[in-house]
Symmetry: C2
Subunit: 160 residues, 2 copies
Amino acid sequence: MARDAAVKTAPPASAISDATLREFTGYNMKRAFMVIQADVTRTLEPFGLRMVTYSALAIVGDNPGLSQTQLAAALAIERPNLVVIVDELEGRDLVNRDRVPTDRRTYALRLTTEGARLLARATEAVRGHEARMIKGIGKADEATLIACLNQIEASDTGRS
Amino acid sequence: MARDAAVKTAPPASAISDATLREFTGYNMKRAFMVIQADVTRTLEPFGLRMVTYSALAIVGDNPGLSQTQLAAALAIERPNLVVIVDELEGRDLVNRDRVPTDRRTYALRLTTEGARLLARATEAVRGHEARMIKGIGKADEATLIACLNQIEASDTGRS
DNA sequence: TATTGTTATACTCTATAACTATA
DNA sequence: TATAGTTATAGAGTATAACAATA
């Protein structure tokens, strides 16, 4: 290690600046989201769930009977990638793939009793995670935060 | 297609609810960040930069002479993954790997003249992206947004 | 013995093309 | 012909172990 009095040729590890990037909302959001993602991953682990499988359960719970294509669109993932996710949830008897008599191409996705129970328990745990994350933020600021996030989301040009 | 008057067995594609997930800051943040990420990716494409390569340029610009280990820590990526990123930037003559006489194990990373020029031009473009993203959000709310994001980031327990 | 940069490797996530069965 | 679900596959992004050079 160089002595304290040595000529500084490089910043010490503790003093690396990200001033240029801190100017941008997106950078601050990415850093904040990394913390949230790490915590929610730990939160869901005891239930054998990942962010995407928990989200899938929540969407199916809110929309019983929806199709895999609809679920993929709601989760903003491609249909092929959803197949393995539903396979996993069905294999654990958390969701059912019910046949639709009027259109034998599609499945109607529904939570099983166990799926609904696990979703309820996991949602309680995620509420605990949420409380940890926004601890120290007042109600008014929290409302402003959500409103800003939704405004940014709505600014999507959809250009592809 | 089922007729309009048919018994509704599944919600129409346009009416899928994510009410349960909307309760959570992390979900709203993920949706907002996906929009930001898509737009900034398009913004940086003309410069031949990705989010991570732009971020690397910005950090090197703010901290001339820092090591690869320090840069990796600042970007929150693993050292092995940084090597290929610096390889790419060095190959395009945007950054230099200068030898450090006092410690021949480390490189001192610095922007080349062209690297500094590209960083400046890209940063201007990212400012335009930023303006698009927060259009419609007032100055006060923007300050609250940043403060909330930083508060959430600071809530990191660091538990690993 | 510890650290920097590196290689090799593997695992997850995501994206696309093409197939089947139904409509 | 078009759509739902599926398969196969390829490309990112990310993570760990182990090595050579140097401290």
